[in-house]
């Protein structure tokens, strides 16, 4: 207010020189005679108090987190491990994938299916064509009905999917004390904690159940499984498989390999996806650089333009001539 009235008084002086323009401005500003400073202060204080109050009320209503489950029911949160292949500029270690497939086939495949993986998907990832063909041929699949309508068995082909251990889910339950071993194809995406969860689950069976914990009949104690009672017993023990590349097959090595393999089965496009990302970044940067040069080129004429203003001469000697 003070500043404005000061301005107005200086303007009043210049108004003498500039004439009509300033008189209209002065008339407009003098009509808006604002509320008293006290009323304004009250309004500001009250609105601030209301803002703070509503935030506090919101926090009171929704702030504190509710835990409907006990920590035991939630299960122990999986520990994060520094997976090399999970870094944005790293690929799967295909040697590890090959070992992981071996662990899946020799250990997990007797209970868990991997129904979304055909033999052809392994070609160039874990095995060569000939190896994959040989593995497929070791299984029998139903053929098309023959002339008599009978369905015969034929050896597997590259396009066949890995065979499931049980005919159907009911048979799987019957063979596992009523618990269904889930399909593992997408397991890395299907659980909170992803690959860390699988790795922790496989290696997390303690030697000794904590004192006082009750493990129901037929279940096993695993802290990472929600509720801690899991129908799958510990399956990995040191030197259970023999790796063809001579890697020492400790429990955690096998768990790491099979987990990385299950990450591949859930995300087989990962290597390509990351490569595509780098291509996108590279091409975008190249186009950006190009656009900077094009902009310079296009603007060159504008930027180097000189405006030369020659005022028309008024009065002086020229007018004298007319």
């Amino acid at each position: 207010m003070l500043a404005r009235s000061c301005l107005r008084s200086t303007r009043g002086v210049s108004a003498v020189r500039n004439g009509a323009v300033n008189t209209t401005k002065r008339a407009a500003s003098s009509t808006s005679n604002a509320a008293s400073p006290f009323a304004l202060n009250v309004a500001g204080t009250v609105s601030t108090a209301m803002a703070i109050g509503s935030a506090a009320w919101y926090y009171h209503l929704y702030g504190p987190e509710l835990h409907a489950m006990t920590p035991v029911e939630e299960g122990l949160h999986p520990t994060k491990y520094p997976w090399e292949h999970a870094k944005w500029n790293k690929t799967f270690d295909h040697q590890a994938l090959r070992r992981g497939f071996q662990v899946y086939q020799e250990v997990c495949a007797s209970c868990h299916s991997l129904s979304r993986v055909p033999y052809r998907a392994l070609v160039g990832v874990t095995h060569t064509v000939d190896e994959a063909k040989a593995m497929a041929e070791a299984n029998e699949y139903d053929s098309e009905p023959n002339d008599e309508g009978e369905i015969e068995k034929r050896p597997g082909k590259l396009s066949d999917y890995l065979p499931r251990p049980y005919k159907n889910d009911e048979a799987a339950r019957a063979g596992n004390n009523g618990a269904l071993p889930p399909d593992l194809s997408l397991m890395a995406k299907a659980r909170h904690g992803g690959i860390d969860y699988i790795f922790n689950l496989l290696t997390g069976y303690p030697d000794e159940v904590p004192a006082g914990a009750v493990v129901p009949e037929g279940l096993n104690f695993n802290p990472y499984f929600p509720g801690t009672g899991i129908a799958m017993a510990r399956v990995l023990y040191n030197e259970l498989v023999e790796y063809e590349d001579g890697t020492p097959a400790s429990t955690s090595q096998m768990a790491k390999d099979v987990t990385e393999f299950l990450n591949w089965s859930a995300e087989p496009e990962m290597d390509q996806r990351k490569k595509m990302g780098v291509k996108v970044i590279t091409i975008t940067l190249a186009l950006f650089a190009l656009s900077v040069w094009v902009k310079r080129y296009k603007w060159a004429a504008v930027k180097t333009r000189k405006l030369n203003y020659t005022p028309p001469s008024m009065g002086g000697k020229h007018t004298n001539g007319h």
Partner: protein
């Protein structure tokens, strides 16, 4: 494969992809066989050596055991041990208690401490 040929492939999806195993294996077979025999001999020796060695120790178990005893996890270890003592020493008709939560805290601490060491030790 060069970057530009890669880019070309990306925009020409009809490009060919080779999935066949390298063909040269057959030619080398004769040489390989003799090598195989040699390495088999060596393997046998190794196996004998291994049998003398003690049992394999899982790096995860080893590092986690160390971490449980470490200073960083000592308070969790203390609570857990205390709980175990309390629960195991208690008579059956008292209120039920277990040490699962204490176990969680200790395990979480030990696992986080061991995680980088375990992965450094694994392939």
């Amino acid at each position: 494969m060069g970057f530009f040929s890669d880019l070309m492939e990306a925009v020409t999806p009809w490009a060919e992809v080779e999935a066949e195993a390298p063909a040269k294996e057959e030619e080398e077979e004769g040489v390989k066989d003799s090598r195989d025999e040699e390495s088999e001999d060596k393997e046998e020796e190794e196996v004998e050596e291994e049998e003398e060695e003690e049992e394999m120790v899982d790096p995860k178990e080893k590092f986690e055991a160390e971490c449980r005893e470490s200073k960083g996890c000592s308070s969790y270890k203390h609570h857990f041990d205390e709980c175990v003592e309390r629960v195991t020493g208690k008579s059956d008709d008292g209120p039920k208690e277990d040490c699962v939560e204490e176990f969680f805290h200790l395990a979480h601490c030990a696992n986080a401490c061991a995680a980088p060491k375990v992965f450094a030790a694994l392939k």
